[in-house]
Each structure stands twice: as structure tokens, then as C-alpha cells.
Symmetry: C2
Subunit: 152 residues, 2 copies
């Protein structure tokens, strides 16, 4: 099977270790999330530390981060040496801040849902779901007015 250690991991070995598809790993390279080198024959070789790097990518995706965002997070890692636990802990705190914000937004939306739809009144001047500042939505194409009323 996959030969190892000093010569680096092949893309297939990395795929086995992470559970990602080979095609996904190539795609991530194209997106700048990982930067393997090439062996004499032109094949990609990866560091063992890249297993953790890709695992981080997968976890961040679960939290709803886009690949460009994840790239931004990963850029906090050291360039020329293998990241230490401290490096990961540092990046993780940024990560956690954004995550907290995301959870808070969801909770606020939930609470507003209770007040707005849940209560049955559906009175809109006081509806807080109306045009919330920080949307979870990806492609806001301008202001949107929720629940049927406009801001004046």
C-alpha cells in the first residue's frame, strides 16, 4: 500500500487518511488550501501534517465556513515549519469567535421567531425578524424586507 515517511504521502494515501476523495484534495489544492510538492515523476507528495490540515478544512466546513474563509484561517499557520499544537490553538480561537457569533445569530433568530410567528400575532411593526443586520445568507442582493412590511 501507500509508502510513507521521508518521501511524503501520495494523494491516495492522504485520501485514505482523511476520508476525502482524491478529486476533492486536488480541488483544495487548486483553491489554495494545501500546497504539496511534486516528486521526480510529477506526482503530488504531502506532509503528514497535511492530514491535520485537511481535517481542519472538513471541520470548518461543517461549521459552515466557505473555502475562501477557511483559506483565510489557514493563512495564520506558519509557512515554513510544521504547525505545532500552539499554532492550531491560536487559529482555533479566531475560529471559535466566528463560531460563537454564528450560534448567537441563530439563537437570536430563533427567539425572534418565537416572538413573531410563534406568538401568533404576526404583527410586523414589532417583528424583529424584519431585515436582521447579520444574515446567514450567502448572496444578499441588496436589502430585503421580511414578513411583509417595509422600513417606513
Amino acid at each position: 500500500m501507500a509508502t510513507l515517511a521521508s518521501s511524503g504521502l501520495s494523494i491516495g494515501a492522504l485520501a485514505d487518511r482523511t476520508g476525502l476523495a482524491v478529486s476533492a484534495i486536488r480541488y483544495y489544492e487548486a483553491q489554495g488550501l494545501i500546497t504539496p510538492w511534486r516528486n521526480a515523476g510529477g506526482q503530488r507528495r504531502f506532509l503528514r501534517a497535511d492530514i491535520r490540515r485537511l481535517s481542519f478544512v472538513m471541520i470548518a466546513q461543517q461549521f459552515g465556513f466557505s473555502l475562501p474563509e477557511i483559506r483565510g484561517l489557514l493563512e495564520q499557520l506558519p509557512n515554513r515549519r510544521t504547525p505545532t499544537p500552539k499554532d492550531w490553538a491560536a487559529i482555533s480561537s479566531t475560529f471559535r469567535d466566528r463560531l460563537d457569533a454564528r450560534i448567537e445569530t441563530l439563537q437570536r433568530l430563533r427567539d425572534n421567531l418565537d416572538g413573531c410567528i410563534g406568538c401568533g400575532c404576526l404583527s410586523l411593526p414589532k417583528c424583529k425578524l424584519y431585515n436582521p443586520k447579520d444574515r446567514v445568507r450567502a448572496k444578499g442582493t441588496g436589502p430585503r424586507y421580511l414578513m411583509g412590511d417595509r422600513p417606513e
Copy 2:
């Protein structure tokens, strides 16, 4: 401007009221989220209650529901009469359950993040981020092993 009341709303008027693009409303019709009738000239006419219906669609999207899922939720509404506050309150409770689950998942992931990356140890046998049961991810393509280790 938009003529009103007894003859129903034009698609443009509905777009103004909801903040949605006209093209988006047509798309929602194609997806079965809303069913206008046509006037003599073949143009779409909507009920005023459809403003709220589309607002609900937008809110549900913020919570991460897909259009098919939202269609499922809307099917709980009465077919032949204008939905009452009670109708909306009922649909909202289903909605809220799913929302609570989503928030809980995020919180659990956050807590695991603290234990796994946040502590700096990165010890994987005890990492709970490893292959969590309920992923937020859409297209799981089989089991995935996180943070570099495999389940044996």
C-alpha cells in the same frame, strides 16, 4: 403604481413588498412554493397572504432550510383559505424543533472544538470531532475520519 385589493397583486408589487427579485418569485412558483392564478392577459396575480408566505420562505432559508424542505413545511398550511395566525403558529413549531436541533449540533461541535483543537493537545483517540454522528454537511459521501486518525 401597483393596483391592488380585489384583483390581486402583480408580481412586481409582490416583489416590492417582499424585497425579492421578480425572477426569484417566478422560480419559487416553478418549485411549487407559491401558486398564483392568471388574469385575462396571462399575467400572474397573487394574494396579499402570499406576502407572508414568501416572507416565511425567506426566513426559513436563513435558517438553512432547502426549498424542497420549505415546500414541505408550507404544505401544512390550509389549502383553500387564507392562513390564520394559528396556522402559522402550528407550522412554526415544527420549524422551531428543527432549528433547536441545528443550534444544539453547532454547540456540541463548538464544545468539541474546545476539547480537541482548543486545548492544544490534539490527541485524537479522545477527539469527539472525529466522525460525529449528525453532520451539518449536505452530501456526505460515506464515512469520514477527522483530525488524522481512523477508527481502529
